[in-house]
Structures are given as structure tokens and as C-alpha cells.
């Protein structure tokens, strides 16, 4: 029996020996926005893979075999953190991760640990819905956060791959310049949006709302992650009308019925805003994301 067992290590050695030629630095991004940011800073030195696509809710993803394979070869795991990926990332890490992407290593990059997190709850109980004890994880929709994160990313990429540090630093300074100009442009454009009353489907938009100074007057979900109920929607109808809400914001992966119902009963416009960039986004996609969102908000705000 033991002779048969010896075959196993022999096969293992056979697989382990042929080391592949030095390839790109591989970034495993949990969400498309992080893959896009990694490409902005990494340029042609990194290849970034996004575990989810733009129509997918990153709360609920299966720890599917393909993702284990991707994590297995990753030099960096770049995610939102704050519990967003808690249903699947730990499983992938446990099964596939190399030691260099374990927590505490430069290759383990959780965005929410580097920016001010909103909505940290005082009480955590499952009867309150799918509450993130660490606060709201959707940090990417405040563009100011992206500069902070890009700077941290540059540090980490340089630490992992010191040979290409000059490239990363150069790319970052280009990005920072462009992005600061973008933010200035958006701020100017969005000045009229200040205090615009909006209803949200899920707490997906808190960072956007905080940045633009919109006024969130209600949420279709009475409790985060629990589908909207009829009685809650009835109450919301009253408050939203009284507050003269201009728009109902939802992501492409939220259910359409509740916001359509509310829009049908009122003069409030139901908007499906892009929540992130596409999985295989080209450079510049992050800018287009904010351009698109602002365009739609402005349109809704002008609507009588």
C-alpha cells in the first residue's frame, strides 16, 4: 500500500519542478473597479483578473473552482474588504492562496482598511438584516478614495515587484494628476446636485451620496439585504413624496420591481446607475463610470 502512496509525492514533484518564466504580476481583484485601478497603476507590468463582473452582486458569489485556480497564482489579492467578500474570499484563500497574499502581506490589499469607512453599526444582530460589522464596504464610489487607494497600491506593487517600481511610481503620478483634474471637473459639474433628494435600493451608494452631498431620504430595503416589503414600501411612498425625491437609485443587479413600483406611484425617476466598470475594462473606464453616473443624476435632477 505504501509503495502506491509514494506515487503521490512523485507526481507532486513533477508538477512543481517546471517553474514558469517570469510573467506579469498577477492581481486577483474581487471586483472590476479594483482590476481597473490595478491596470491604471500597473500598466503593462500587471495582469488583472476580476472575480466578478459588473452585473454581479459581490456579496453573493460562489467560491467556484475557477476562482481557486486564479487565487492560486495571484501575486496580489485586491478586494473591497469590510466583509463584502466574507461569503467566498476566505474559502478561496484557505484553499488556494500562496503565503504572499495572506493577510498582513503587501499582496493582501483590502480597500476598506485604507479609507474612512461609513456606516459602522453600533449594534450587530442578524434580525437587523445583512449588516456589515465593519461598515459600508462600497468605498469605490467616492472618487477621492481612489487616489488614496492608488497611492497605497503603488507602494504595494513596488514592494512586491521592486524592479518595476519606477514604472508604478510614474503611472501613479500620471494617474493622480489626471484624476485630481477629473474630480475638480466633476465637483464643478455636480455643484447643482447638492441636497438633491434621492431614494436608494440598497446602501450601495453611500459614498457617492456623501461625496456629492445628495440627500438620502429613504431606502427600498427596510433592512440591508432583506428584500423590500409591501408595508415598508407604503411608508416610503409617503416619506419620499413628502421629501420631493428626484430619483431612485439602484444597481444593475438589484431587483427592478420595487423601484418601478415607487416610480409608477410618484413622479420620482427610477435610475439604474452603473455600479462599476466592466470586467475587462479598458484604461479610462473608471472616468467614464463617474461621467455616466453624474450625467444620469443631472438629468433626473432637471426633471420637474
Amino acid at each position: 500500500m505504501f509503495r502506491k502512496l509514494c506515487i503521490v509525492p512523485a507526481i507532486l514533484a513533477g508538477w512543481a519542478l517546471p517553474t514558469p518564466a517570469i510573467a506579469d504580476l498577477r492581481v486577483f481583484a474581487c471586483e472590476p473597479e479594483w482590476a481597473a485601478l490595478a491596470k491604471e497603476i500597473g500598466g503593462d507590468k500587471v495582469s488583472a483578473y476580476s472575480a466578478t463582473h459588473e452585473k454581479q452582486d459581490a456579496h453573493h458569489v460562489r467560491a467556484r473552482p475557477s476562482l481557486i485556480a486564479k487565487v492560486r497564482r495571484a501575486d496580489m489579492v485586491f478586494c473591497s474588504g469590510a466583509g463584502l467578500e466574507v461569503g467566498w474570499l476566505p474559502l478561496l484563500m484557505q484553499r488556494g492562496a500562496r503565503a504572499n497574499v495572506r493577510p498582513g502581506k503587501p499582496g493582501h490589499f483590502m480597500a476598506a482598511q485604507h479609507v474612512a469607512v461609513r456606516e459602522i453599526p453600533a449594534v450587530v444582530d442578524r434580525s437587523l438584516g445583512d449588516v456589515h460589522p465593519e461598515g459600508n464596504p462600497h468605498v469605490h464610489l467616492d472618487p477621492r478614495n481612489l487616489i488614496v487607494l492608488a497611492r497605497e497600491l503603488t507602494k504595494r506593487l513596488s514592494a512586491i515587484d521592486s524592479e518595476n517600481k519606477p514604472t508604478y511610481v510614474q503611472n501613479f503620478s500620471n494617474f493622480e494628476r489626471r484624476w485630481s483634474a477629473n474630480i475638480e471637473g466633476w465637483n464643478a459639474k455636480a455643484a447643482g446636485l447638492k441636497n438633491m433628494p434621492v431614494v436608494v435600493h440598497h446602501k450601495s451608494w453611500s459614498y457617492l451620496i456623501g461625496w456629492l452631498g445628495l440627500n438620502e431620504v429613504g431606502s427600498l430595503e427596510a433592512k440591508p439585504g432583506i428584500p423590500p416589503t409591501v408595508s415598508h414600501l407604503r411608508n416610503l411612498l409617503k416619506t419620499a413624496s413628502a421629501a420631493k425625491a428626484k430619483a431612485i437609485l439602484r444597481t444593475p443587479f438589484d431587483q427592478s420591481d420595487p423601484s418601478n413600483w415607487l416610480a409608477g406611484k410618484t413622479n420620482i425617476q427610477a435610475l439604474v446607475l452603473p455600479f462599476t466598470v466592466s470586467r475587462n475594462a479598458k484604461p479610462g473606464a473608471l472616468k467614464n463610470l463617474f461621467d455616466d453616473i453624474l450625467l444620469q443624476l443631472e438629468k433626473a435632477n432637471r426633471h420637474p
Partner: protein, 447 residues
């Protein structure tokens, strides 16, 4: 707290100031003046309280916003796996079942206790208590205790108690060692706890060939290949006490090996395909309430395929899961059935079993599913004719349909109908109503 204190002081101050006023001189004017004073005093205190309350509120808010940034970048904590050390999870599981047939013997097979049909009527199933945590940077440990009703008694069963290396353990990348007692890698369902199953009972091959699940004491090594495709292989050595093994003498009576591959098709479809083998020395395996005994070698070969398709990428809203497993068991040794007084009869033959199922989630909380499972018994040796191991040429089968409602990922209620014919001519129509509730920490389920 400060505001409460001030309120208390105010409440005390008002009656004291009333008492201190000379009441005997109270003509109407005096009284009005005093009342006015009291009102003014009250107002002043209320204003001060409100100011203080606002101050506290704004301080608390400030703390909530800035608090996070001050914490150092440490391991991501979460309520699902690390907030408690160790995290504690409990799964409660109960059912009501009706059967139309008294006998549930599977003709042609020696069936272990856990492979038998569940109790009729109202009953709770296994109540599982799980503790798990990272031991340190190198090891993860988990233990699951199940309280089960067997032979009219509540018994504590140690389902799992294992440790597992973490990526920091210093092993080559992709290599993992798991040691202790665990639901070992063998087919699809074996690795999963029954509460995660899509049906209320395990399919026939699991009942006949694995006594529900193989969780012997042992050690398993596995390796994930660094490749674009998911490729994993591994194997283990085990004590040889758990079904299909039994009564280990050497304490090293079983070994296994497996390989599996998996990947995605487009954005929203995934698959995994695996091949497994388990070889056991059986020094004595008693089944059918102690009547049937097997001594010899038992070799099991299995294959599984799982495919998932979430039309929008969001399995939470709608998803189709197809799953199938095939088992082939070859046994060489002697069987005996004391009830049929067969004595030891030489046996060298194979039997097969398989099942295929489809589960479709058509709304976020609702799923329906269908399953067909079947066993193909070995030819009955002459000496076993008329015993429990005589299939009489019948191939046992079960047809199942189920529907379940999932309120949250922690609670599920299911109805299931089975039509079973486990021995020739004995048709069993079964209705099962089941609940599965989990409280506390609950680690994520694998693919």
C-alpha cells in the same frame, strides 16, 4: 450618561426650590412669581441638557467616522469566521415524515445504521454544533459534534475534529494537509454536511456504499496545481474503522486518491469533474442491525460532475444546479447473514450506484428539484440466496421531488416526496417536511 445625571439633578432641584419657598406668605402674587421662577429654572435646565446631548451625539458620530481609520491594517475580521474565537455555529434540523411501506431494507446490500431510512413521524435530525478557528498562522481547526437519536437514545457523535494547514504553514504553495477526523474528499456530497444537501435524505449510493458519509480518522494531502484550469489532486490514509471499512486491526486500513478539474464557461456557468477511489481492508463490518457481516477487501471508485448556471451571474436570485455521481464497488471476501443462517459465503463481485439531480432556484427564496437514484446489486452467490444480500434481480431506486423556501441564508424549510422501491414489489411513498436552521457563525460552503 452625563445628560442622565443632569436630568436627575434637575428633578431633585425643582422640588427643593419649591420646599425652600416660604409657603405661609403665599398670596396669589407670590404664588405666581414662584411658579414663574420654577418655569424659568426648568427651561434653563432643559436647554442645558439639550446642548449637552447634542454635544455627546456629535462626538459619538465623529468617533464612528474616524474610528475605523485608526485601526491598523490587520487580518479582515468578520462575523462569519473570526469575531468569536473559536467561532461557534449550531445547526438545528427537524422533520415530519410519513411512509407507506413498513420495510425499508435495501435488498442485495448490507446497510449500515446511518444509511437506513429516517424515523417516521415527528423527529429531530442531527443537531450539529461546530467550533472552528485558526489555531495560529499555520493551522486551522474545526470540530463538529452531532447529537443523534439512535436506538431510542440520544447519542453524541464526533462527526469531525480536524486540523488543516494554512498557506503560511511553510508547505509548498498549493499543498494542504488535513488530519484528524473529517468528511474526506470522496465524490461531491461526502465533503459536505448533510444540512447543506439539496434534498432531505442522501441518495441511495451514499446510503449503501458510505453509510451516509465516510469520516474515518486519518490524514489527507491535497495539491492545487498552478494553472488556469482548476486542477487538484490528493489522497489520504485512514484508520479503517468507518464504513465501508470496519474493525481496524492495524489502525491503517484504508487509503484514497482523487483528482478533479473545474472551470467556468463564459461569465455565469461553472463546472467541476472529479474521479475518486477508496480502498479499505475490512476486518469485520456489521450491517443490517448486526445480522450481516463482511470480512475482506472493499474497493470503491467514484466520479462526480457538478454544473451551475446563474443566468445573471447572481446565484442569489436564480440558479440551475445539475449534479451527478457514479459509484462502483468491488468487494472480495466473505459475507454472512446470521438471520438467514448462511454461514460465511465467498464473495467477489461488484455493484454500482448512481444518482442525478437538478435543482432550480426560480425566485430568490424558492427552489424546486428532482432526483433519481439507483443501485445495481451484484449477482447473488448461491450461498446467500434468500438472505438480505439477495436482490432477487431487483435494482433499488428512488425518485424524489422537492421544493424549499429559504428565508435567509440561515433558515430553510423543505417539502419532499420520494417514491422508493428498495426491494422487489415494495413501493414506498414518502412525504417529508423538513426545517434546517443555523445560528451563530456559519462558514461559507464550498462550490
Amino acid at each position: 450618561m452625563t445628560s442622565r445625571f443632569i436630568r436627575a439633578v434637575a428633578a431633585l432641584a425643582v422640588p427643593i426650590s419649591v420646599a425652600a419657598t416660604p409657603v405661609y406668605a403665599a398670596d396669589k402674587q407670590d404664588l405666581n412669581r414662584i411658579l414663574g421662577e420654577i418655569q424659568a429654572l426648568k427651561k434653563a435646565y432643559e436647554n442645558r441638557i439639550a446642548t449637552l446631548e447634542n454635544k455627546i451625539k456629535s462626538l459619538e458620530q465623529k468617533k464612528a467616522v474616524t474610528g475605523k481609520k485608526a485601526t491598523p491594517a490587520s487580518a479582515g475580521k468578520s462575523i462569519k469566521d473570526n469575531s468569536f474565537n473559536p467561532s461557534l455555529g449550531i445547526v438545528l434540523n427537524g422533520r415530519a415524515s410519513t411512509y407507506s411501506e413498513n420495510s425499508s431494507e435495501i435488498a442485495g446490500f448490507g446497510i449500515g445504521e446511518e444509511g437506513e431510512r429516517g424515523r417516521e413521524g415527528l423527529a429531530i435530525d442531527e443537531s450539529e454544533i461546530n467550533f472552528s478557528a485558526n489555531v495560529d498562522d499555520k493551522f486551522y481547526a474545526s470540530s463538529t459534534v452531532a447529537i443523534v437519536r439512535e436506538e431510542g437514545e440520544d447519542k453524541v457523535e464526533l462527526e469531525e475534529a480536524y486540523l488543516q494547514t494554512l498557506p503560511d504553514a511553510g508547505l509548498p504553495d498549493g499543498l494542504r494537509i488535513k488530519a484528524g477526523r473529517a468528511f474526506w474528499t470522496l465524490g461531491y456530497l461526502n465533503e459536505h454536511h448533510a444540512h447543506a444537501d439539496d434534498f432531505a435524505d442522501r441518495p441511495l449510493p451514499y446510503r449503501a456504499f458510505l453509510n451516509k458519509a465516510f469520516n474515518d480518522d486519518g490524514v489527507e494531502i491535497s495539491y492545487v496545481v498552478p494553472a488556469d484550469l482548476f486542477i487538484e489532486f490528493g489522497g489520504g490514509v485512514f484508520r479503517g474503522d468507518d464504513f465501508p471499512a470496519g474493525d481496524s486491526v492495524s489502525g491503517l486500513g484504508a487509503w484514497s486518491a482523487y483528482g478533479r478539474i473545474g472551470g467556468d464557461i463564459g461569465d455565469n456557468q461553472s463546472w467541476r469533474l472529479g474521479a475518486y477511489t477508496l480502498h479499505t481492508d475490512v476486518n469485520g463490518r456489521s450491517t443490517n442491525e448486526g445480522n450481516v457481516n463482511f470480512i475482506g477487501k472493499s474497493n470503491l471508485y467514484a466520479a462526480d460532475l457538478r454544473y451551475t448556471w446563474a443566468p445573471t451571474g447572481n446565484a442569489k436570485n436564480s440558479e440551475l444546479i445539475l449534479q451527478a455521481e457514479y459509484f462502483n464497488r468491488n468487494e472480495e471476501g466473505t459475507y454472512s447473514d446470521s438471520e438467514a443462517s448462511t454461514g460465511n459465503v465467498n464473495f467477489d463481485d461488484s455493484s454500482q450506484g448512481w444518482y442525478a439531480q437538478a435543482v432550480y432556484k426560480f425566485a430568490p427564496s424558492w427552489r424546486i428539484g428532482a432526483r433519481y437514484s439507483q443501485l445495481l446489486a451484484a449477482d447473488t452467490p448461491a450461498g446467500l440466496t434468500g438472505s438480505a444480500l439477495d436482490s432477487a434481480g431487483h435494482d433499488p431506486y428512488t425518485m424524489s421531488v422537492m421544493g424549499d423556501w429559504t428565508n435567509s441564508e440561515f433558515g430553510r424549510i423543505r417539502v419532499q416526496y420520494n417514491r422508493e422501491e428498495l426491494s422487489d414489489g415494495r413501493e414506498d411513498n414518502q412525504f417529508i417536511l423538513q426545517y434546517i436552521m443555523s445560528i451563530g457563525a456559519h462558514s461559507a460552503h464550498a462550490f
